[in-house]
């Protein structure tokens, strides 16, 4: 439905004083759909995503998530907002020594006390939901297996599951397919897309595979050198636009 989930206003990030990685990026994300951010390495795509859930601290700008400016939050308030934003990582970032089901349940850590987390006493509804998700992800037989016993594609599916266990209102994915082979990449994007659409969760992904992006995106955002240089539908992405984003045409042939 209508209503803006996320609005980034004039976001800037400098790691060192003279080299800004993000130069005044502004974006609006509406309630649903898959937005894919593309651009060359160093364009700031990953930084942009990580500023949204404040894994990276922005230097200036505002990030309005459902009305609240995330940049001003700290402590308990920040964690409460973070709970509502799920993230999928390039290298899956599962806790390798824990089982698949524990990794899924870790998505609910924002809601349980340390004592319950230690004893693994999650609410019954969480456990039921975890098993349902496992079914949907096709990983039911792996529930008790250690995370490092899984293949890359399977691990990423668990990563998606963990993010979805948070019941988020926004899903971020930082190069979720860059560590996977082409076939698995497509499977993962399909899984993420269908599950997110089912739950009406807007998704923001960054990747560098343009063809994959065109295949799955409802909207494409092109970035270069810390700036947004394209923002529109996949079909509107012409070769001219691509060369603006990436520079040069050789790689497109």
């Amino acid at each position: 439905m209508g209503g803006v989930t996320l609005e980034v206003q004039d976001l800037t990030k400098c790691y060192t004083a003279d080299r800004p990685v993000l130069r005044g990026v502004s974006l609006r994300l509406d309630s649903e759909g898959i937005t894919i951010v593309i651009g060359p390495s160093g364009a700031g795509k990953s930084t942009l995503l990580r500023c949204i859930n404040r894994l990276v601290e922005p230097t200036s700008g505002r990030i309005l998530f459902q009305g609240t400016d995330l940049v001003t939050l700290r402590g308990q308030m920040l964690r409460e907002r973070r709970r509502r934003i799920g993230m999928v990582f390039q290298e899956f970032n599962l806790v390798e020594r824990l089982s698949v089901i524990e990794n899924l349940l870790s998505g609910r850590l924002g809601y349980v006390s340390p004592w319950r987390a230690w004893l693994r006493k999650f609410p019954e509804t969480d456990i039921v939901r975890a098993f349902e998700l496992l079914d949907q992800l096709g990983l039911s037989e792996f529930a008790a297996k250690r995370a490092d016993a899984l293949s890359g594609g399977q691990r990423q599916r668990v990563g998606i599951g963990r993010a979805l266990m948070q019941e988020p209102e926004l899903l971020l994915a930082d190069e979720p397919t860059s560590s996977l082979d082409p076939k698995t990449s497509v499977e993962i994007m399909e899984t993420m897309a269908s599950l997110a659409r089912q739950r009406h969760i807007p998704v923001m992904v960054n990747m560098h595979d343009v063809n994959l992006a065109k295949r799955f995106a409802d909207r494409i955002v092109g970035m270069t050198e810390g700036r947004v240089v394209f923002d529109g539908k996949a079909d509107d992405l012409t070769t001219d636009e691509l060369s603006t984003i990436y520079g040069g045409e050789e790689w497109m042939r």
């Binding site: 894994l55 990582f89 806790v95 390798e96 609910r108 850590l109 340390p114 987390a117 948070q166």
Partner: protein, 276 residues
């Protein structure tokens, strides 16, 4: 390089400059030089310490007679003392280990530079460092002088030693973890403690148990000798027996000590395997 190829290399390439020649010499003759140096040192040190072959042989003779005086081991005459003091050593080891292990967990976490800010890690690391600088016997003497004879000194000594040992290794283990896993759990909005419990601890628990069991074994060994300096346990009984020249009782005590330590070794191995 083995001898043959080394000689071949030497024959074909004789370097020109002094520095290079020295290095070449070292490489070709290194092992032999080392052997000569070691033997040279041994002779020098032995003479400094006053070891003469005569003294050594005399000692061996004396050792022979000494051995006969050890047997048969006398378990009977002072059995109640031995039993009581052995139990006290065991108690010291258990209490010190429980306190030490329990304290090492939070202290090890607080000393980890990838988790805590500098003003927290510095004092904790200093404390851990000092705790492991001295042999438990020395720490034992100091505690005895400070708070008096008895098992309390023993428990405190070994608890401090445990924190020093486990704490340092545990902190090193924590500083080697993958922070990616930590980042992901943070991103779910988990509290600091939950992040620790679900992404830091799973990576280090097995090693923590390993260190703890090693320290339990070490505490058991040390608890038997702390009595020598008055910190409680069988060590005092042993020393008294030596000073009375009651060598058969000495033998009995040492055999009991060996038995206890061997059991401790087996137990700690089993527990370590369990918590893998």
């Amino acid at each position: 390089m083995d001898a043959l190829s080394r000689r071949a290399a030497g024959r074909t390439a004789r370097p020109a400059t002094w520095g290079a020649r020295a290095r070449w010499l070292l490489e070709v003759y290194g092992a032999r030089l080392l052997a000569v140096a070691v033997v040279g040192y041994a002779v020098y040190a032995a003479s400094t310490l006053g070891f003469t072959p005569a003294r050594f042989w005399r000692g061996l003779e004396h050792g022979g007679t000494f051995l006969t005086r050890l047997f048969p081991p006398d378990f009977a005459s002072r059995w109640s003392d031995i039993q009581h003091d052995m139990l006290e050593s065991l108690e010291i080891a258990i209490l010190a280990s429980v306190f030490g292990i329990a304290a090492s967990l939070p202290l090890g976490l607080l000393a980890a530079r990838n988790l805590m800010p500098a003003y927290v890690t510095w004092p904790v690391r200093l404390f851990i460092s000092v705790s492991r600088s001295f042999h438990p016997v020395i720490v034992g003497i100091l505690f005895v002088k400070a708070i008096g004879f008895g098992p309390l000194a023993g428990v405190l000594t070994l608890a401090v030693a445990s924190v020093g040992f486990i704490g340092k290794l545990f902190t090193e283990a924590i500083e080697e973890i993958s922070l990616k896993q930590v980042e992901a759990v943070r991103a779910t909005g988990a509290s600091f403690l939950n992040v620790l419990i679900f992404s830091v601890l799973p990576q280090v628990t097995a090693r923590f148990v390993g260190f703890s069991m090693y320290q339990l074994d070490s505490n058991l060994r040390n608890s038997t000798i702390l009595g020598i300096v008055g910190a409680g346990g069988i060590g005092g009984t042993l020393l008294a027996a030596f000073q009375r020249f009651d060598y058969e009782i000495v033998c009995a005590i040492v055999l009991v000590m060996i038995g206890l330590i061997m059991m401790g070794e087996i137990l700690s191995e089993q527990i370590r395997k369990l918590f893998q």
